[in-house]
Amino acid sequence: MVSSGAVSGPLTLASSDFELFGIPPRFQLDPSQLELQWKQLQKQVHPDHFSSQGAADKRLAMQWSVRVNEAYQRLKNPLRRAAYLCGLNGAPIRAEDNTAMPAAFLMQQMQWREDLEEATDASAIEALQQQMAQEKRQLLQQCADTLDQQLDWAQAAQTVRALMFIERFEHDLDNRLERLDNN
């Protein structure tokens, strides 16, 4: 079950997410395998297994359990996984101070935002959601190509930044839908 990417050194809290889960540091992975691994690891380290033990065990279990959850959350989410891989390979995303995006993408963004402004019912918002899902699929495919085939980390980081725009917009769509639902 262990893939060839498993590490040989001792695992510590500072091991990478991939090392911790015993999988190769690649973008493409099997989500159901990842989930299985997460549960296997939690069965070993979850504080519930140490509740009748002493304080030091509980603390250690808590630290490991937190670490395993942190790694799982990051690996499970394709966008965060891509960002993490870029960082590991020396191309951090730096979303807060690197907002330079291609003009075409920015224009597209503005168009979507206008569409949201004009949307009055749930079906219009759902249509936008579908558009976003498709856009996201394409960009994630690009991530897979640049990260796993071309090993072009800088290019992948650019794609991740575009995906972050889309994710934020999807969040706004959700909020808008929820407000409509509550009225």
Partner: protein
């Protein structure tokens, strides 16, 4: 103690020492206690054979009080001193109570949490809850004729940090060793899922007397993974009663003038509501001080006046589905929990939304306590082959106040716990040496719309230019869902830390003092108790070390193993002495001396998990 039970997860160091573990459902209207006996979870009855304890406490003066059925019996004649639905007040101020005017109580506003004025003075909701818990603890002690090792207490999934902390304090005050707080819908899922050997994605719809929760869980091979949770911690059957009472008052042109009438009206409304679950019409009857009311109510009328409440619950279900990234068709079944789910219109509304027949083959009153008992049994190490694993989530986002009264979210809702998340902040003035941190919980963007959990200060930051300091704020949420916050200035290493405790003014010492005052059952000598506890801890530590050596001595060099054995011998020697401090010192030394071994075993356990080997087979 620093040894890990990697090889036999969940097993007590001494397999023969079976520990009595209980699960308690501390409900708004009813409370229950359950325990696993002979492998089966069952609710424990009182001397009269009743499993349900009404969550009611009556203060009668001179230190006398009545709990449960006895308290409820006197509700109409002594409404001010008969506290019911106290769960609604846990961790809440007067301003949080929507219908304060309708209640027969005198509420006193206090920082952090309100108090109730009774014949015996002010009572905090924590104290009232502790009375209920102590009564249940007594029931368990009578049943087993033994001490209780520990308890799992359930809380609504949607309880915030203040409400959870208040519940834990109440349990502590009742003399219970809290193994874990678990969420009610998760407890229900355990009892239901294990009973029916269910696998797949299930929803739990839990409408109790005063709270509403919905959780979406994935069940697979003993792992209960909560995917999302939602709800309203101030919405329940009580609200249906009140809505019905209002409609009847309006229709008959009557009003309520005193506490006794308020109390009678609500009791009659509940009876009417329950009757309307079985029949389509019912005559609402109540004897008020200015004359009786006899008014016919149809089921359709009742449904119409409570429809807005049901709709609110459905919105929470939809939101949880969205949070879990699921469609209603992904749900295989919906488990109905809480007495309020007996209402036919609630059943049909939920079934329609989730497009499946609600699952009713569990007792909606008992299922939460049963699940808690199963988890308590597991946590106590009584179930060596147990593969049960709960992966629960935090229901509400946690954040910190930033400039302009805005919330910066640090832990988003529905994160699997335990979790730790950090965010960096900086100073906004030149030479600023302190930073005030305000911790809040909730989904809204403005601080005023969220619940304030704690305030603390990071002091002693060396003077720097504005924006030069780098303050890392870390939120840690433990497996009970309770929060602690650390702040550190990373350039200088200055740090501050707070366990988020609601500021209702009960310190641990005060809780200990109250514990002795209110629930003092036997005289005990402080030193004798300290000695007994020190010896018990020494035994536990020694046994844990022994079983660790048995299982994993191969991870140590001969010298390392010898060093541990020497420390173990010292523990045994210290145990024969009568000084708790000496025993504790030896126990601590063994704990310290085995920390590296513990870490190595943890590592080994993780490796085995990665290799996919079944650990039990090693």
């Amino acid at each position: 103690m620093a040894l890990l039970q990697i090889s036999e997860p969940g097993q007590a160091p001494d397999p023969h020492a079976r520990r009595i573990a209980i699960g308690i459902d501390l409900g708004t209207t009813h409370s229950l206690i359950a325990s696993v006996r002979n492998g089966v979870a069952e609710c424990l009855p009182d001397a009269q054979g009743r499993v349900i304890l009404p969550s009611a406490v009556r203060y009668m003066g001179n230190g006398k009080r009545a709990i449960g059925h006895d308290a409820l019996a006197a509700q109409a004649e002594d409404p001010q001193n008969t506290i019911v639905s106290v769960k609604r007040f846990m961790g809440r101020g007067v301003a949080d109570i929507a219908n304060a005017a309708q209640l027969p109580y005198e509420l006193i506003d206090k920082p952090g949490m309100l108090s109730l004025q009774t014949i015996e003075g002010e009572k905090s909701p924590v104290e009232v809850s502790a009375e209920i818990l102590a009564s249940l603890r007594q029931r368990a002690e009578d049943t087993f004729n033994d001490d209780i090792h520990g308890a799992v207490i359930t809380v609504p999934a949607y309880f915030d940090d203040a409400q959870r902390q208040a519940t834990k304090d109440a349990a502590q005050m009742a003399g219970l060793n809290v193994l874990r707080l678990i969420n009610e819908p998760t407890a229900a899922a355990i009892a239901y899922g294990l009973d029916n050997a269910s696998e797949g994605i299930y929803a739990v719809y839990d409408l109790g007397g005063g709270t509403f929760d919905v959780s979406i869980l994935r069940l697979s091979k003993g792992v209960f993974e909560v995917m999302a949770t939602g709800g309203d911690s101030a919405l329940g059957g009580d609200d249906y009663d009140r809505a019905l009472a209002d409609v009847v008052l309006t229709a008959t042109g009557r009003s309520l003038s005193n506490a006794a009438d308020k109390s009678r009206m609500l009791t009659s409304a509940r009876a009417c509501k329950q009757a309307l679950s079985d029949s389509t019409e019912y005559v609402f009857q109540v004897e008020l001080s200015d004359g009786a009311i006899n008014h016919k109510v149809t089921r359709a009328e009742f449904e119409a006046c409570t429809q807005h409440l049901t709709r609110k619950t459905l919105q929470a279900v939809k939101k949880a589905l969205r949070d879990a990234n699921l469609q209603s068709t992904d749900i295989q079944g919906v488990v109905m929990v809480g007495g309020s789910t007996r209402m036919p219109h609630v059943q049909s509304a939920v079934g329609e939304l989730l497009q499946c027949q609600p699952l009713n083959n569990v007792n909606p009153d008992e299922v939460v306590a049963l699940g808690a008992a199963i988890q308590a049994n597991q946590l106590s190490g009584n179930n060596p082959n147990g593969e049960l694993l709960l992966l629960d989530v935090i229901p509400l986002s946690l954040g910190i106040e930033t400039m302009g009264g805005l919330v910066e979210r640090i832990v988003p809702r529905n994160q699997t716990i335990p979790t730790a998340m950090a965010q960096d902040f900086t100073t906004y003035q030149d030479g600023q040496t302190a930073l005030a941190l305000h911790v809040v919980q909730g989904e809204r963007d403005l601080v005023v719309d969220c619940r304030s959990l704690a305030r603390f200060e990071l002091r002693g930051i060396p003077p720097m230019a504005a924006g030069a300091a780098r303050i890392r704020v870390t939120f840690t949420v433990d497996a009970d869902g309770l929060l602690s916050v650390d702040a550190i200035e990373t350039n200088s290493g200055v740090q501050a830390r707070i366990d988020v405790k609601p500021s209702y003014g009960l310190s641990d010492d005060q809780i200990a003092a109250m514990l002795q005052d209110s629930f003092h059952t036997a005289e005990f000598d402080k030193n004798a108790r300290a000695l007994a506890e020190a010896r018990l801890e020494a035994d536990r530590m020694w046994l844990a070390a022994q079983s660790a050596l048995n299982a994993d001595e191969h991870l140590l060099t001969t010298e390392e193993a010898a060093a541990i054995r020497a420390l173990m011998a010292e523990v045994l020697a210290a145990k024969t002495l009568d000084t708790p401090a000496t025993i504790e010192a030896a126990t601590d030394a063994l704990a310290k001396g085995t920390e590296a071994f513990a870490a190595a075993r943890m590592n080994d356990g993780i490796r085995k998990a990665l290799a996919g080997k079944h650990i039990g087979a090693m």
